[in-house]
Amino acid sequence: MFGPLIQFAWRNLWRNRRRTFITMTAIAFGYVMLLFVACLMAGLRWQMIENGTALVMSQIQVQAPAYYPNRSIQKTLGGWQGTDVNATLAAVTADRRVYAAAPRVYGYGLLSAAHRSAGVELMGIVPRQEAKITILNNDIVKGDYLTPRMPKGVVLGDTLASTIGMQLGSEIVLLTQAADGSMGNDVYTVVGIFHTGLDAVDRGLVLMSLPALQELLHLAPARIHEIGIKLNDITAATAVAAALQTRLYKSVPVRARAWPELAPELASYVQFNHAITFVLFFIFFLIAVIGVMNTMLMAVFERTRELGMLMALGMRPAQVIVLIMAEAAGLALASLLVGGAIGVPILWYLQVHGLDLGGATGEMVSLAGVLVGHLWYGRQDLPAYGEAAVGLGITALVSALYPAWRAAHVTPTEAIRKV
């Protein structure tokens, strides 16, 4: 019974082409805009997550359960006797979702050079492994990243270097409270200076080799604070962290935390970004409601006589409603297809070439404490595209309800006489 009605509805759409085209253009354009916005927003989320985790933090951190939040240097993985670092790393990388993992040691200390001192965070890393999970090695502006040739070399930020008065090759003293309570101290050489653009990092972070920091802190080689992890797909972070925690716990008590837990401000930004996207969608839907309702109402008014005729011929009000709704659905479907077709090359362009925001400045922009580039790359967000399509479709149907109801209430005798 619906078959002929749908066919009928489809034909009706093409009887007044201009009107249909105008409405289709509105919906299609709306859909393209939604795709554009969703793509850019997803790109922003992705870039912020990527940059926020890749600089120093990493995507998942595995630590001793008692390490966070006080970050006491005694709270190493596996307690005071430590853990088999290579075996634990192997256990982590056994998960296929893990791209790479690297061991880390942390400490706080006083850095002193010439006549000035500053409190710094010390991070001990294995350069070869660390470079697989973070990108700080790309930000070296003078000298080199840590190399095995300089076991007592340190790499630090440009702001720290200039405030304390250090150059490449400067000798510095690091003073810290070691794990046994004694005063760890030694002389080191500045081998590299980085500039990340994030003040906290450029001012307060000192990188050195893992064994060198263990020695300074009087920690045995088996004692590390953390395993940093990079995944093949960052969206799996929370799931992988939970899986790793369960699996590693069999050999050593650990707490594995994914980036949303490590950087709540980043996670809340992502939520905020989702919320903005939703609000934009909603505004577009409202506009679409008005457009579609207008078209359908006009279609009903123009065809009062015709509808009256149909009803006089025996079409029931319910069938009239189905007819009008089918017209709206057809209109929406056609518009979405057209919009999608127009959208694909735009989305492709956004992902590949990005949107140049600050071509003039070329500087990195800091957002919520995270650096994003001046090129704003899009990222495909298929669920959002689907939501936008479904949302627009529902919008079209909802806005056709009133015109359909009006049509169903046409009185045949009056309608035929009227025009």
Binding site: L110, S112, S117, G119, D180, G181, S182, M183, N185, D186
Partner: protein, 255 residues
């Protein structure tokens, strides 16, 4: 008389800190009223220099550490030299004026300690660098009220509450000082934060007469947020008003 007791006790406390450093004593002498320059109190003020031998035991969840050190003080200068354990022997801290420097024998370097580090732990203990070397002007920076008078644990005591004066640059929200009535020696000192919560308590005991003065020779600092953790300082030897050469107050690589 009560005020006199308080001043005496404050002086005793200041003197105790002066066992770690001398500066507060000298400054207290400057800020106290002239009418206090009688008998024992006046006597206490007169310490212009001191030499002390101290042992320090740090107990916390990671275990126990023992250290010993020698402390020299003269005017506003303080020098502390670690004598044991072996791997830290030779570490020295020199305070001259507002300048604090460490000498690190392992690195053979002198390191200046910025003011921002002064509230961090001294050698892993529950005392801060600030406790050791900062000039605390209790009577200048705090308003003093009597908050308790009576018997505690079978001992008649006065309790004074010191609240910072509006423009005083101090760390604590309030300091509570408990004094034994009989001989005006301090028995306990509590350090509170801005919300009135106890941050750490300093207990005095083992009173001995040194150079005509009755002073506690044991100080136990207990942080309120770490149960079981405490640092005990024992004065095995202390001498006041001893002649010390100003040249003593230099670090090994500065001579």
């Amino acid at each position: 008389m009560r005020i006199m007791d308080l001043q005496k006790s404050l002086t005793a406390v200041l003197l105790m800190l002066a066992c770690l450093i001398l500066a507060p004593v000298v400054h207290a002498a400057k800020v106290l009223p002239k009418r206090m320059t009688v008998d024992q109190v006046a006597h206490l003020f007169s310490s212009k220099s001191s030499i002390a031998t101290v042992t320090m035991r740090v107990v916390n969840e990671d275990g126990q550490r023992d250290m010993s050190m020698r402390i020299w003080s003269l005017g506003d200068k303080v020098l502390i030299r670690i004598t044991s354990p072996e791997d830290e022997a030779g570490v020295a801290i020199l305070k001259a004026g507002s300048d604090i420097r460490y000498y690190l024998p392992k690195s053979k370097r002198t390191v200046k300690i910025p003011a921002s580090m002064a509230m961090t732990s001294w050698m892993g203990s529950d005392f801060t660098i600030d406790d050791l070397v900062k000039e605390t002007f209790l009577t200048r920076d705090y308003s003093i009220t009597t908050s308790f008078e009576g018997t505690r644990g079978g001992v008649a005591v006065y309790e004074y509450t010191l609240t910072p004066k509006p423009d005083a640059a101090v760390v604590w929200g309030k300091i509570v000082l408990q004094i034994r009535q009989a001989d005006s020696v301090p028995t306990w000192q509590g350090f509170y934060d801005e919300n009135g919560a106890l941050v750490r308590g300093l207990t005095f005991s083992e009173y001995k007469t040194v150079g005509g003065r009755n002073i506690p020779t044991r100080l136990v600092m207990q942080p309120a947020d770490k149960t079981g953790a405490r640092t005990t300082i024992d004065y095995t030897d202390i001498a006041f008003d001893v002649p010390i050469s100003a040249a003593t107050f230099s670090l090994p690589n500065e001579k």
